[in-house]
Symmetry: C2
Subunit: 299 residues, 2 copies
């Protein structure tokens, strides 16, 4: 589409030459915008965080089904090659039975000086805050670490710290418990955390995500929405011995982690540059979205 | 004391030449043993975990006060030089205002093969399980990361995974929230976890404890009850930039972290050998305790 729509949403969603609408408005407006598009018969790809609560997501899903239209949250992390590969090797039991997961996404901003008044990251009316903007990635890493059949927690507990200026959450930690993934396996505990203020990785050497299994551990480094490095640590012989890691720094990106693991080795894989390029593209896209005004989104 | 007491507790606690009794029985018996000793007018040093619930601790404390006797939990971690130093530099604001803490203590055992039936680590009647044996260290790291005046959580949430064979907890995660430590500071969130099955550090390169401040972070490596290495990472200029770390591997143990920090540098400190020796001594002590029979403790 070369046309631009700076007019009314109604014109956009009813345009007969448009098949799919990608929604990149603030979280507060996803439900309203997606519903408008679905009701007009468009397919919808909606930015994360999908909706501000589960009820809204269910309503959208019902309409999409009725209208026979495609509806999906645009959580690109799920489709990164690293995510696909991690899911594959977890499912194949490369680190044994998953027992525990820690996933964090903290920006390390100063809420009192790094955000201008009205910044959508901290405006309550625009559903700003750590959970909806950053937490979705932590939660997603937890969920994709779970076996396919077992991604609904049997217990969820959480605590939030309020950003005093606007009342959004500046730090949120969620504790989850999942049913065992095998008949005689243990229940799985997971912690998904997000923070505007605290920083996940202060020095590039601290894992953002840790997926622990009884035969080893996977550690994901860099921003959880677009990791830069992955470590797979195999536990040594004897359950309570520490494993060893054979570093395989910067292998050819054609040699996948999976191939390395089949050889029975621990490895560190620096992820291909294309991921970083995609991340930069995403950042640019967000910037340009910022330019042409969220004020129109409230219609 | 060169005498040995293989007879009845009553003879021990009433022996006029004994001033202090150190209790190293299973957790299930601490309350009963400590109460007996206090009521007989002895000072008491009691192994961690102090008692199995807060009510028991309060009762012991009341009796100790009435009898004017010394009563303390023998949590040696609090007195390790590394703990003293960490408390000092946190209080002096070396990493700014503390915002978040993660502390884990996981052994990486297989509960189905690494413990013999009757092992006190997994016997419910002896108050076995991850929380009381391992969790106390994680909780202690969280508490000593908090400002002196502010060590009582305003919220506590927790989840446990049961060890199917005996019903003790094999993995426990506790989520805590603390009031701000400064007038305009943020609330502090902390996660203290413990596991018989999952392992804290599979390769010697993963921090057991992370204390995050708005100016930097402290990472503690090795077993949390006796750390082997400490990293202090200073955040770089600009809140949302990653800090850099200047490694100071194996500095003279006479040059303290504190001195390095006063110089404005990030550092890695390998802790003195004496700590490891103490840890080995503790392990030996625990082994020999195991030899002369917990069965007597049930009297």
């Amino acid at each position: 589409m070369e046309e631009t729509f700076q007019l009314r949403w109604g014109i956009l969603v009813n345009c007969p030459t448009i098949d799919v609408i990608y929604i990149a408005t603030p979280h507060s407006h996803h439900f309203q915008n997606a519903m408008l598009a679905l009701e007009a018969g468009k397919h919808v790809l909606c930015e994360k965080n999908f909706t501000v609560n589960a009820g809204q997501a269910k309503k959208l899903s019902t309409v999409a089904e009725k209208k026979q239209r495609f509806l999906m949250e645009g959580l690109w992390t799920r489709f990164l090659p690293v995510s696909v590969e991690v899911r594959q090797f977890l499912q194949a039991g490369a680190i044994g039975t998953v027992t525990r997961v820690f996933a964090d996404n903290g920006l390390g901003m100063d809420p009192y000086s790094d955000f201008l008044p009205g910044d959508l990251m901290v405006v309550k009316e625009l559903a700003g805050g750590a959970l909806l903007d950053l937490g979705v990635y932590s939660i997603h890493w937890v969920l994709q670490a779970m076996p396919k059949t077992n991604r609904r927690p049997i217990q969820i507990l959480s605590t939030t710290t309020e950003y005093a200026v606007s009342g959004v959450d500046e730090t949120t930690t969620i504790l989850m418990r999942f049913a065992p993934s095998t008949a005689d396996g243990p229940e799985i505990q997971a912690t998904a955390s997000a923070s505007l203020r605290a920083i996940t990785d202060p020095d590039g050497e601290t894992a953002a995500v840790r997926i622990q299994g009884d035969q080893g551990e996977t550690q994901i480094y860099g921003w959880p929405w677009c990791p830069s490095r992955l470590r797979v640590i195999r536990r040594g012989p004897g359950m309570n011995n520490r494993g060893t890691i054979n570093r395989q720094d910067r292998p050819s990106t054609r040699r996948s982690i999976w191939t390395l693991l089949r050889g029975g080795r621990s490895c560190t894989l620096h992820l291909p540059r294309s991921s970083r390029e995609s991340r930069d593209a995403l950042a640019r896209e967000h910037d340009s979205n910022g330019d042409h005004g969220y004020s129109a989104a409230g219609e």
